[in-house]
Every structure is written in C-alpha cells, then in structure tokens.
Symmetry: C2
Subunit: 400 residues, 2 copies
C-alpha cells in the first residue's frame, strides 16, 4: 500500500536516518553526513533543514576545519518533546515523564488495584499523566509517545493484554485506543518484565548483547534482551519462566493449573503461604522480605532455597540462551543477597562451563524504577526511529 | 581505525546496499534505485557500474516505462561465484558446492572420523572440495566463501572449536587459517546444529521469525533462529539443551560430569545402552532406529518415552523463548513418528496456552541435508552483505 512518500516506500536515507547519525554522534556536520551517507550535499542540506524546522536538531556551534570557515556542528534536541510512561503492577504503579534522551523530568509512585479493570485504572493514570505534565511545565501537545507496562502477556503490535491471569477485565482491551482519545501520539504496551529488562540493560549493561532479567515478586517472570532488543517471541509470551516445571516439587499446585511450576515453589506468594503454614504469618512477598530483614532463620532458609530452585531453572535458560548477564529484581531479590546466593549456587553447578565462563549474576540496580526507565527507552526508540521521523517530518500523521 | 574508503567508515549506501535492493527485488532499475535510496542518479549509476564490472549484476532486459525509452532491468548474477560447505559429523560428513542463490551444484556424503584430528580430517575435506569444484566445472578462484559446521561449540568470530567434547585435538584450532592456505575467501565456522537450524528455516519456514531446531542423534542439541538469524549467545554456547536437567532421572550419569542431563536420558547413545542392558543389542543411535523400524516394542516404547522427556525440556524452552515452530531432526527423529508423538504430548501438556496457541511441532524436511543447505546460506549472507560487497568492489581485500 502506498503510505505516502515517506514510510516503507520512502527513501532509505531520509531525514530520520540523518537524525540517527546526528543522535549517535556518528556524523554531526553537513559535510560529514554527506560523506557517511553517500547522499549529495544538496540532499543532506534538505534533510537537515527539515530536522531544524521540526526542532529535532539545533545548530550547536562551529567546529574548526582546515582552511575554510568553521563547519556548523548539529546536535539532537532532546527537549523537542516528552514521553509519558506507566509501569502498572498488581497493586502498585509508577509513572514518569521524561525528555527524548530518557532523562526523567518527574515521577510518581502510588498504590492502586489493577483488578479494578481498565477504565477506572486508566482514568486514574490519565489524571496523573496530566499532573506530571503540569509539574514538568510541558503541554499535552508536546507528548511524542506513551509507554505502558502491564503485569501480564501482551499482544505487542496491538497493545492489548492477552488472557492476563491477574488482570480481570483487561483481556483484549485496547490501551492505545484509550489514550488515543487524549493524545495524538503512538502508544506502546508491553509486559512489565520486558520493560524492566530494557531499562536495566539501557542503564547499566548497554555494552552486552544478550541479557536475562528475572523478576521475583509475588510471581516469577523474565525479560529477554537478545541482540540488544527485547525478544518477545511469536506471541509476546517469551520469558514466562514462572511456569517451567521444577524437579521434585509435584506437590505444588500452580494457579495456571499445572503441578510443580517454578512460581508455585519459589514465588513470593508461595513462600508466604509456606511460612504461614509453619505458623509464621506472612500475607505476601513484602512480608517475606520483612521477615528476612528481621533475621528470621525460617524465612532466610526459605528464600535461599527458593534461589536454588530458581537457579536450577535458570541453569537451563543459560544452557539454552547463553546470556552474558542475569539480573535479578523484584521484592524477593531485595531481601539482601540470600536469593542471589542460591541462584548462583545452582547456576554455576548445573550450567555448562562455556556458558558460564564470563556469566555475571547480579541484583537489579534500578530497583522498582527499572520499568519506567525501560518504557521511556522503548517509546523514544520508536518515535525516533527513521521511519517515524520521516513520517513526522513529512507531516504525514495519518500513516502512523 | 581507518579501514579504507569502504568498510565501517564507508558510505551507508554503497554498492553493497544497492546490490541488496536488486537481489531482494525491491528496486531493479537505476531510476527505482535512485528513488528508493535518495541517492543522486549519477551516484546510483556509479554504484551499478561497479557491480556490473564485478559481474555481480547483469542487465536483464528492458521494462516498459511511460513515455520514454524502456528502463533497463538489473538482476543479481547468482553465477558470479560459488561457495564450498562442509557439515562435519562425528563419523559422517556431507560436503556441497552451491551457487550464490544457494542452489547446490554438487554434493558428496561419506564416512570419516572427526576424532582423527583437524589436520587429517581437513586434508580429506580439502581434496573433496577440489573434486566438487571439478565436478561443477568451476575453479578455485571462483570460490567466494567457505562454510563449515562442526559437532561442538565454536567461537564463531574466530572460527575455532572451544572445548569440543567429541573432537579431540580440535580445541582452539583455526579452521579459517587452514583453508586460508588454499582459498582467498572468508571461512565461517559454526556449530552443526546452528547451520541445520538455518537450513531448515531458509528452506521451509522462511516466513517465521522464531524457530527452534532440535537434533536428536547420539547426543541432543538445538539451534535457535531468533528474528530470522541464528542466536549464538554470549559465547556461541546457545542452544545446548542436551545438558539441561530433567526430572526424576538423577541416576543417569552424563559425559559432562553432571547427573540427570537430558542427553544422558534421551540421547541415542543412552537409548542404545539401555536397550543393550535389557539384552537387545544396539551399538548406537542408528541401531536404535533400525530396531524401531523393525517394530521391536521395547525400542518403540523407549523412543516414545525419550520424546516425552525431551518434550518436558522443550516445554520449558517454549515458555522461555516462545518460538513459532519446533523442528526435530537427527537419527532418532527419523525413527517414524514415535519421538515426535512423545514431544508433542509433553509440550502441549506443560507449556502455557499462549505460547502453544499456534505452535507447530514438525519433523525436519531436509533431513541430513539441512547442514549443507544452512552452511551455504550462512556464507552467502556473509559474502553478499553490503560491507563485504563494498570491500570487494573497492578491491580492498586486506580489510576483510
């Protein structure tokens, strides 16, 4: 289909590709851009003019050049817009507004119940987005994109949750359509652990090609960074390690309807239930963490053993996927280093030497901010992709 | 580092990118190439002239154009060279010569022992490569690239096996350097199951983004196609599922030094040992297959149960990686559909509904030709990559 001059049928090196070269610092003068692209000087000048007109770049000053007047250095204008992001959890959420470099301008975290269903939850998010815009002194017209993480599987291209077990009422709900009422900007929706993986990778492990992020909270899930991007799999279901079967635990009944799932043995809810059954009251994963911090040996033993069981599953993932690093986050991981110790023990015992030769196993460093950081990066990468910039610069908003 | 005019610092849209557009049929006239790339007509003409001079494209005839003389249609010349490939097994190998479209021109399969070590094995391969060239009526100077698959882990960028358990003497041996004595062409070396995965994907599943190829022969391994390319992982160890621990088999001692590995329970060698222990003589995986084909119930039962155990591990891989298809090859898979039946049973029982919604589980269709097909595709993709073509066209052979 003819999607206008830009888009899929547009030139391979449009204004968007030129912006990418400037943003990455690969070529920052008109002359360097012409050399790097092979485009004629006049074509480069046109592309740069379009980017200047849209305030996506600015002239940052002169560069000394041999035997002539100084060439003007071009720089990416990361203030050319903002993105709004939301990391929705089962009972707790975090929102942020950031500029186009991923720098947060304002954030807010609060309790809410995802089980209230999409309309009330998103109305709440919408109001808080407005408050964040006001706090940052920006307007709705400056919003270039919106990113949302949800605690369940997502049909990524459509932005709809798919049979999410802990999100009643959300199955098939179009989150992009909902925000489309208020904002004229693309809306990307992904599983929460995927955006956490992206955030952690971008903030602290950017030089690695392959990384596995594991979240151990009430449940257990993982996000896979493969070739520096998120691997979502054929149906957006990739990374769902919580329902991999573990050895010797066929007595554990999982909410998915199977026996012996990792989550039913080593997830925060399972640990809390087992502690409660042993007479030590724990309502959920946070109480387990408190017990560990308080030095209760039963809780410490249990978290350490959960780490071993998780490590047994991760040993398989290491053999299969051979990541350069495993980063562990979520409530239970924050219970000092007991979980990580168990994970390391099992992974290094069970994985092949070649796969663990330089394997790093570390705690999350962004903690509960990983989701909003990753969601911002996901949206910025999308709205600054060459195709999206070409469309924006051509004013062909309908092709989005 | 300045790697010459072409290479990393060369123009983004050099002759190699133009060739890719012609090869993919995206733009096949000089005018269409100018539109698609944004390059000036004169620049496109230069690029095309260079490709014509190197016989990588030819003028295929005229295309009716409105109100002018017909535009000349350009086509990729897949006869512009050949690639030589070898799929080395433990005791059996297959070699092929193919053109640059991946079409085989000649093939040969023969028994040999990889444990003889690199020098004698590669001398044998070298002689047979010469015979294949002669059979196809091509000369050594026409060889554009060489691809080799080996039954063990490989440091892919270096082309060296890394601690390969069944390849004594090969650890760290530079296969590219060996062939470099005879051929002035890049040599790519990969794990054999990776090239099989690539071959099967290219030949029969090209429309799928994510595929898992599993080989069940003497041992068990897998090759991962992620985003239509091979996922090799941080150290080229990805896909090594043979040493993932399976439930309830801690009595099985594996050659890797661990207990309960998948390969030690469900690999062809393990099945042969167990049949022999039960008084039914079987020297290896091929004899197991013969017993199954002969209808021996003990062997059928064992292969079916091996399928279930394999399926249990693959269920975890499906949850983790969410492929669109699993393709099963290797000797044991060829023992009618008993292995596949067991695999399907376990995967569909244990994997999450979303991940198995459209999951296809099928036998290999290329059989023991998968390796040479995949090796040819791997090498062709490499030698026709835009960077490699830019270098070739610039005559900058030293930058390879």
């Amino acid at each position: 289909m003819a999607a206008g001059a830009a888009g899929r049928n547009g030139p391979l090196l449009g204004a968007g590709s030129v912006l990418r070269l400037i943003r990455d610092g690969e070529a920052t003068t008109r002359a360097a851009l012409a050399r790097r692209t092979g485009l004629a000087r006049s074509t480069v000048a046109q592309r740069v003019d379009a980017l200047l007109a849209h305030e996506l770049v600015y002239e940052a000053g002169g560069e000394a050049s041999t035997g002539g007047r100084p060439a003007t250095v071009l720089a990416f204008n990361h203030r050319a817009g903002v993105v709004l992001v939301a990391d929705l959890g089962a009972t707790h959420s975090r929102l942020a507004i950031s500029d186009l470099a991923g720098t947060p301008l304002a954030e807010v975290a609060f309790d809410m119940d995802i089980a209230d269903g999409p309309e009330p939850v998103l109305a709440n998010i919408g109001e808080r987005f407005e408050a964040l815009l006001e706090e940052a002194g920006r307007s709705a017209s400056e919003v270039r994109g919106i990113g949302v993480g949800v605690p369940g599987p997502v049909d990524f291209p459509a932005g709809r949750p798919v049979n999410p077990p802990i999100m009643p009422g959300w199955d098939g709900f179009s989150i992009p359509q909902w925000f489309g009422r208020t904002y004229d900007a693309p809306v990307l929706v992904d599983n929460d652990v995927n955006i956490m993986a992206l955030g952690e990778h971008w903030a602290h492990w950017r030089e690695l090609d392959h990384l596995l992020y594991v979240k151990v909270g009430t449940g257990i899930g993982s996000g896979i960074v493969s070739g520096r991007g998120i691997h979502r799999g054929a149906h957006g279901a990739a990374g769902d390690i919580g329902h991999i079967r573990v050895s010797d635990h066929d007595d554990a009944i999982c909410r998915c309807g199977n026996l012996g799932c990792l989550e039913a043995v080593a997830g925060g809810r399972a640990l809390a239930l087992r502690l409660s059954a042993a007479g030590i009251e724990a309502a959920g994963s946070r109480e387990v963490v408190e017990l560990v911090r308080a030095g209760r040996p039963e809780a410490i033993l249990m978290v350490r053993e959960a780490g071993r069981v998780l490590g047994d599953v991760l040993a398989g993932c290491v053999n299969f996927f051979n990541p350069a690093a495993i980063v562990v986050g979520g409530d239970i991981a924050e219970a000092q280093d007991h979980l990580l110790a168990g994970v390391r023990e099992a992974v290094f015992q069970r994985s092949l030497p070649l796969a663990t030769r330089d394997l790093t196993i570390a705690n999350s460093r962004l903690g509960d901010r990983a989701g909003v950081v990753g969601a911002a990066i996901m949206v910025i990468d999308h709205v600054l992709s060459p195709e999206a910039v070409d469309r924006a610069v051509q004013g062909d908003a309908t092709a989005a």
